[in-house]
Symmetry: C2
Subunit: 333 residues, 2 copies
DNA sequence: TTGAAAGCGCTAACAT
DNA sequence: ATGTTAGCGCTTTCAA
């Protein structure tokens, strides 16, 4: 920068002013400086600026894994939303492991991120205190904690209830659930399963507990394994609720392999509305949690916090939408 | 850091030494300093370190979009590989747009990344000069350029040839191709299509040009649209080669909708071996480009460059593998 | 094995 | 509208 200043015959501060779009510069000076910058191939050193300003223009995004389509599509949306605000995104994969999630919180990249978007999956309610960090943060996804942080939430409860009600309306009464996490009380699995049970109860349908099948990480393979196990158990069912889309798709795979017709023999619904759900065979009935809105709302909220807003913590619930597709209502052709 | 030094009764430099694992410190001093760090909740300011050392511990990853499963899974692998080297990944989405790709090159985040992994899709051979940048860089994916940069390549040619040969071995002779980019000479689409043609020629099969269908971005939806167009044209075919998996899956969707049986009426193959290919209905025959190996090799190469290795540019071709699945060979049940 | 001094490149605050 | 001064928090000499 000094070199540029010399080359242009101005002070370093003027160069800095030009770089930052400071308005009160004579146009002639500005052009002169710009020319020198060009001539010398000068590039601003962000580390230096950050050191001085305490800001990096980077926000962190902590998600389980990018090989989970929901989170990949969420990351895509977040990166896009951040760009609108001139921010870059650093992604940290936590693997939904508690220790790694705590790591992402405790050491927000050594002052290298101005804010953090955090999708907690491994944390429990006892960990709420860890969320009191000095870096601005917005939680994404589940209503796990009431408390010390902003939260942009999926409407898990009403979304899942809508899916279950849809299956009930189709006359299905024996609904298998894929992807429960027994023992978990907070967390997506517990919330969605609870909402499912409440919808059943409301309709006066008794739940069949052996139709609820556990699945660890919500990959397709685990959905497939869970369905194999369910079939092996000999239990009868006329519908399947995958607690997310990949589980449902894995289950569909196995059902098809075993000769079940979908939706005639078994109707299947999921949750997330990942891109694939519109193109799978059959297309998948699922709950769209409003990914794009989640991303823009979360980034907006975070930016406000980064700008010093220290008003009370807010919880935002994004409206969901149920997409009825072939896996429950068949093809219309 | 000064505060920590005061608290521990040592000089800032000693604290720095402790932070950096400098070996020649008395254990007692080390523990004292560690205690003070803990007591004061001290966190190293990376911006400051970077300013001094010129290193950030961050590498950039420039890919088209994370909503393309291949790139999401690649990013996942890269983040994992980078972690092994203590590096963090900043993802830049270029949208496969030339201008944005040039942007990622010209302004590698203002010295904020120590190196760059770059998946060029929008650049042409005329842009080779732009690849001569001072930041260490490794190109990922396609053999677009011979030249000024390290390159970890998918074996597009042999992979595609294997897929085509597989279709030919099944007795298919009228193979539709989904996803061509007419006018493109370098780039994935052109390379794979060219390889397909060469495999046909070698087998003495005459290509049917109207069976090659264009598709812009390689999304499922574009694969579906392309297949609709192909069917509307009335052309007859007994196989489909999707130039990537999502195109193939989109095409399968449409074929199924129109009542074609796969693979009996039409065999379908793709390229990428995304996770979904193992779980779709039918499962998808596809070419596995060795994503994990690509990621680890690329990060390794990049780390060497970042450590000052300035030997000649290297080109690494990762071996592929053809996975034969239901979409071409049917179910074995 | 530890400390002192200097400076990385930038910008905030204050001149002018 | 532009320049001066000082210092962000760390590490790299070099000395002790």
């Amino acid at each position: 920068m000094r070199d540029v200043a010399l080359h242009a015959g101005v002070s370093p501060k003027t160069v800095s002013n030009v770089m930052n779009g400071y308005p009160y510069i004579r146009e002639a000076t500005r052009l002169k400086v710009l020319a020198s910058i060009e001539a010398l191939g000068y590039q601003l050193n962000l580390s230096a600026r950050n050191l001085k300003s305490g800001r990096t223009g980077i926000i962190g995004l902590a998600v389980p894994r990018l090989n989970l389509p929901y989170f990949a599509e969420l990351a895509d949306a977040v990166i896009g939303a951040a760009e609108e605000h001139g921010l870059t995104v650093m992604i940290e994969q936590t693997g939904a492991v508690r220790e790694r999630e705590l790591g992402a919180l405790s050491r927000p990249r050594g002052h290298l991120v101005d804010g953090l978007l955090f999708s907690p999956l491994g944390l429990g309610p006892d960990d709420a205190d860890y969320l009191r960090i000095s870096t601005p943060m917005v939680l994404l996804g589940e209503r796990i904690f009431h408390g010390p942080a902003d939260h942009v939430m999926i409407d898990n409860v009403n979304g899942t209830r809508a899916a279950t009600q849809h299956l009930l309306q189709l006359g299905r009464r024996r609904i298998a659930v894929i992807g429960t996490h027994p023992g978990e009380v907070v967390g997506t699995a517990a919330i969605r399963y609870g909402a499912h049970l409440s919808a059943l109860a409301e309709a006066g349908v008794k739940p069949v507990h052996k139709l609820a099948v556990e699945a660890g990480p919500w990959h397709r393979s685990n959905g497939a394994d869970a369905m194999e196990k369910l079939l092996a158990s000999g239990a009868k069912f006329d519908a399947v609720l995958g607690l997310n889309d990949t589980l449902a798709l894995g289950a569909i795979r196995v059902l098809t392999k075993h000769g079940f017709r979908i939706p005639d023999d078994v109707a299947v619904a999921g949750f997330d509305d990942i891109d694939e759900a519109s193109f799978s065979t059959p297309t998948l009935t699922t709950v769209d949690p409003g990914r794009a809105q989640i991303a823009t709302a979360a980034v907006e909220l975070l930016v406000e916090r980064m700008n010093g807003d220290d008003s009370d913590h807010r919880e935002l619930v994004i409206p969901f939408e149920l997409h009825r597709r072939e896996s429950t209502i068949g093809s219309n052709s």
